[in-house]
Subunit: 231 residues, 2 copies
């Protein structure tokens, strides 16, 4: 019997089929790829391209899109600071379930605050014998001007007109950090993280390159090798 969070008298039920068995069934290693960045930075485009590319390679992935989840699981949450944190926490928990189920889970949400992202990363083991990189961040480090220029949802227009407070807060976080010359993510020595910069290529061409980089970085398509003690 245990007490966890607000629950008492709850018990852990061991899974009848283990994560390794599910990975073996799917012939793939499961992981979470977490795409973070400003609105308009291309997170959804990248998530969709990555999922499609993985599908053509025979891999099963699933996209957890921040906006889509606000239509369902997170529909009770707004954009206050504590709601944002809870929003990200829940996406992290669900991503963990999908990785446990054997899938390549692609989470795509602004998630500007490192502490929230780090909490999610802490939910999954850092590394084990079969998964070198079970949780990878991808930072869509696009220039703010480019994001505003694209503005696919018209959010920047509304934000500049003072009609969306949350987004302005979010922009400030990024902009202030830039002004302070602080790199807002973990340093490159952290090999669970990957960053991208706009590089002069067209958005479409960059995106294609990003997909291949992520697949290479995460090793998603490395041949699946079940550990000896799993046979």
């Amino acid at each position: 019997m245990s007490t966890v969070g607000n629950s008492t008298n709850i018990f852990w039920q061991e899974s009848p089929v283990g994560k390794l068995e599910r990975q073996k069934l799917l012939h793939q290693k499961s992981c979470v790829v977490w795409i973070t960045g400003l609105s308009g930075s291309g997170k959804s485009t990248l998530a969709c391209s990555l999922s499609r590319e993985l599908f053509t390679r025979g891999n099963l992935s699933y996209v957890l899109d921040g906006d889509n989840l606000r239509h369902g699981l997170n529909q009770d949450l707004g954009f206050k600071a504590e709601d944002r944190t809870e929003n990200i926490r829940r996406v992290g928990e669900v991503a963990k379930l999908f990785a446990d189920a054997g899938l390549i889970c692609i989470a795509s949400l602004i998630s500007p605050y490192r502490k929230d992202r780090d909490s999610c990363r802490a939910m999954l083991p850092n590394a084990n014998f079969i998964e070198a990189k079970p949780f990878s961040f991808v930072f869509m480090n696009m220039p703010l001007t480019l994001c505003e220029e694209r503005d696919p949802k018209g959010l920047y227009k509304l934000a500049r007109a003072g009609k969306i407070k949350g987004l302005i807060d979010c922009l400030r976080t990024f902009v202030d950090r830039k002004i302070a010359s602080l790199f807002p993510f973990s340093p490159p020595t952290n090999n669970n993280m990957h960053t991208y910069m706009g590089n002069g290529l067209s958005f479409k061409d960059s995106n294609k390159g990003f997909v291949l980089c992520i697949i290479g970085f995460t090793g998603i398509d490395d041949p699946y090798e079940p550990p000896l003690n799993c046979e």
Copy 2:
């Protein structure tokens, strides 16, 4: 742009790979099997056996166990009435995501109130051309005396000693309904529902039969036939 629940300015992102494509990749039809019943009625045992049996048939399933989720996604929830409702709502939303991802999702939680279960069922389409039964309830209709006799978690002992209020409420729901000769679930004409009664067999033998019944009832292992317009 839309307003949903407590969120504004959110947009629906179409999935790059559709549910039908994922089902095709997995060679299976996805669905949700929702196991409901008293503590000790055998929900977890059935969920585990079903998941294991499906695995041996090459099917990918995932068990959403009520207690396990209270260690993670639902750790902020207690056992007050509104917390129970929110607990079940979230499990329903996650089950929906897993079914959308192409998996056979097995949810196992007491979920005593029909209105909560019905809300979950309403999240998934009732039927479409590929899935006759995308959401099936399995009611572990075990006699209360048998559940108390088993009492695998020692919860009944605590409840009878007045140490768990929530469980007593839950028992009352079931017992009162029995006293009133009310069948606490939808009538048998509803083909999205399946009920089981203790039938004199041993728990182990019953369980084996239940697994086969569920597989037959849901048609999980019927040959996968992609619809013509999916090719």
